[in-house]
């Protein structure tokens, strides 16, 4: 696999990267860690004439708590930095877990969290955790900025709302309320390091009386893009968690999944596992939320 020839551009600021992108349009590609992009170029599914390397932009490799209670993650923050970050581990355990089982040690040292999402693979490990935490995607272009909730970011396999002249400046993730528990579940063939066959994230916030004040369920690798199961979230909200309630929510998740059969798993298996993993993710979220509440 050799990489086809291209001109390498090294912007010094994100603004400069946007100008390069505007002048070269679809003949150019943005590169963060390159672990998705260079493979596509090697396979000739993508042949940009210009590669705009974000690696040369200083000070965009950050994970930092902003005043107001949001965690900000920059475009060059590697998956390994997400795994090692204490704030992520404390406040966003499902993201911490998902990042730790994404790919291999080497790929996590190279690949970025934002690249994992911009690639818009339906099976991206970190998509569903970011969805349950209501992540905001801050998108910039040369004449402005827009903020898109992450569940609206994905359009289909390999497709996002990003337009040619745009790039992702950062993710903003609000710190959840105290009595919140969340969890990530994944099934793949080669233990955990493989591309997910199915992945599920869940989040529960409890009221003082133990009823659910907020619920989130997101599924990966079982539809053309990662999806939220709003119908199941609705039946959980306001109720006291019980085994039956979780079973009902898990059944809805199974119905909402529209997986394909491929070499990783059959559609039927995927649907069955969505139900199992949703139940497990809800059980674990409830246990964590209860522990924090008390």
């Amino acid at each position: 696999m050799s990489i086809p020839k291209f001109t390498y551009l090294a912007p010094k600021t994100l603004k400069e990267a946007l100008i390069m992108r505007a002048s070269h349009g679809s003949k150019s590609s943005i590169m963060a860690g390159g672990t998705d992009l260079l493979i596509k170029m090697g396979l000739r599914t993508l042949q940009p004439e210009f590669v705009i390397g974000l690696n040369s932009v200083p000070e965009i490799d950050y994970i930092t708590l902003r005043p107001g209670g949001e965690l900000a993650i920059g475009p060059m923050a590697k998956l390994s930095a997400v795994v090692e970050d204490a704030e992520v581990e404390k406040n966003f355990p499902a993201l911490s877990e998902a990042a730790s089982v994404t790919a291999t040690v080497q790929i996590r040292n190279m690949g970025t969290l934002i690249g994992n999402i911009c690639n818009a693979s339906p099976s991206a490990d970190n998509a569903t955790p970011l969805m349950i935490y209501d992540t905001k995607v801050v998108i910039i272009r040369s004449d402005g900025e827009r903020v898109v909730p992450i569940e609206e970011f994905f359009k289909g396999p390999g497709k996002s709302v990003l337009e040619t002249g745009e790039l992702v400046k950062e993710f903003l993730i609000p710190i959840p309320e105290k009595s919140t528990g969340s969890n990530y579940q994944k099934v793949s063939t080669r233990s955990k390091v493989d591309i997910a066959g199915i992945c599920v994230s869940a989040l529960l916030t409890l009221n003082n009386d133990g009823t659910v004040s907020k619920a989130r369920i997101a599924l990966g690798a079982v539809a053309p893009k990662p999806i939220r199961v709003v119908k199941a979230e609705k039946i959980l909200t306001g109720k006291t968690p019980t085994k039956e309630l979780f079973n009902d929510a898990a059944k809805i998740a199974r119905e909402e999944a529209s997986p394909i059969s491929d070499m990783r798993a059959s559609a039927e298996y995927r649907k069955a596992m969505v139900e199992v993993l949703t139940r497990r993710a809800l059980d674990a979220s409830l246990a964590a939320a209860t522990k924090k509440k008390n």
Partner: protein, 163 residues
């Protein structure tokens, strides 16, 4: 496509090379610097034969553009030994524990082991196996490799003075 001048430090030695923008770090190490210890297997980030340390982090040199190694410190298998004729404890343990057969995966395995032990001198068996998730071996099997890393970790904690 004009070539780009890249300055990099490999195993402590400074180099300046004119590289194609599409050239990968492993190509430059092997073809330009003649450091052929780093191997090429899959070229898709799966096998880890090309593993090197860049600023202390293990990466696949097959998916790293040489232009992005500008001003970076790189350690390859040639630079792991303590001196020209003194092996690193990880290398010694690989030999003593029989963790090498054809040897094609070995440079990458040793660098991944070094990446782990430099951060965590006391890894559990599970942590060792997780640290090798990006390194495939087709002949030795993993049991002896894991054992060698355990032995090396012990030795690095309690270096025995030579007589």
């Amino acid at each position: 496509m004009p070539k780009v001048n890249v300055k990099l430090k490999v195993n402590g030695d400074p180099y300046e090379v004119a590289v194609n923008p599409s050239g990968t770090l492993v190509e430059v190490l092997r073809e330009d610097l003649h450091l052929t210890g780093t191997k090429i297997g899959c070229q898709t980030g799966d096998c880890g034969a090309c593993t090197v340390l860049v600023n202390g982090k293990s990466v696949c040199s097959c998916l790293t553009l040489a232009v992005e190694a500008q001003e970076k410190e790189i350690i390859t298998i040639e630079g792991v030994g303590l001196s020209y004729d003194k092996l690193h404890p990880i290398q010694e343990a690989f030999i003593n524990e029989g963790a090498i057969q054809c040897g094609y995966c070995t440079p990458g395995m040793v660098l991944s082991a070094k990446h782990l032990l430099d951060k965590n001198p006391n890894p559990s068996e599970l942590q060792i196996r997780q640290a090798l998730s990006g390194n495939l071996c087709r002949c030795t099997g993993y049991a002896r490799i894991v054992k060698a890393i355990e032995v090396a970790g012990e030795k690095m904690k309690n270096p025995v003075k030579e007589k």
